[in-house]
Symmetry: C2
Subunit: 211 residues, 2 copies
Amino acid sequence: MATRQQKRLPRHVRERQMIDAAVRVFSHSGYHAASVEEIAEAAGISKPMVYIYLGSKEGVFTACIHREADRLVEAVRAVVRPHDTPELGLWQGIGAFFRFVADNRDSWKVLYQQARTQGTPFSGEVADARCRVMDEITALVVAGTRLPGGERIIDEQEAEILARMVAGAADALTEWLLENPDETPESLTERVMSIALVGVERFNSGDVCEA
Amino acid sequence: MATRQQKRLPRHVRERQMIDAAVRVFSHSGYHAASVEEIAEAAGISKPMVYIYLGSKEGVFTACIHREADRLVEAVRAVVRPHDTPELGLWQGIGAFFRFVADNRDSWKVLYQQARTQGTPFSGEVADARCRVMDEITALVVAGTRLPGGERIIDEQEAEILARMVAGAADALTEWLLENPDETPESLTERVMSIALVGVERFNSGDVCEA
């Protein structure tokens, strides 16, 4: 069965299967305990094939980090519809972000937390992936500071500062979400939205300048 | 002169001089271009002495990351006085955080940004240092959600969530501060405080639950 698959599938499909399997294996065993053998077995292909496609265990892990970041960015984009108001788009996008983290708890712990903190050679990859995700959130917040007609509620620089704060807050809450199994993505979305919306109000009313 | 110093100074003083010099050299040249020779010269001691004290260029850099994190935590603690109201303490602490980053712009870029993103073996050290600093800010925010008499304004869990959001927002704005030389620590402090205070109000009034 594995042999027939190897002959038939186009490269990108095979690669996707391999990465799917690798994400499962890494999530379950952690980076150090996982072996290429285990990944090959989970993907239903031979070990040399994994090396041919992705070079090394390190290469497989890097591919997993990239792919999961792609999926997260996609998940955020998928919920934002063109006819949504900017505020609704922001609400949906932040919701999708936290839902993704909650739904992919195990892979998040390995691919982001473990790779970022354990001094593995992947910290640069994780930093890049995190930047891409945060840029996506930042762009949503900047868009969210416009009225449905497109006029700005607050000026460009204020929007950018607010957006970075909101993205930083959302990023910080992923850890809270992982540590607290009873926490829901919806509740965290409300909290982040509350600071985003109030930020818009305050920057707009000039309160922040009088403080 | 260097020789006399080597004989006279106690270890911790010598080590501090070495790290002071190393922070300057790394900030100026970046990790890869900096040499132990240059650091020894800047510290006014011999190269073997640097190896004896800190083992390697890697050891020197790690010591710099730790020392700068200590200094930042100290800077935040130093401005919070026992008789301050919790809110004033929070205001002062966040202000000290941004002032430290602004005043130590060059070392921040090398010790935190470069070490975190370039896949060097220091990402774990930076993650630890960042956690310590963020824990300090988080504790200040949690304290800031009490009235001067010590009663809680919002419950413990809400305070913890808010604190993490505020710390994440402050962390995200350090990058903005480094990228925008005209930005002031005071202005960023006001922005972060605005979300902290409004967070307290909203959590307290229950607005966030009705959203």
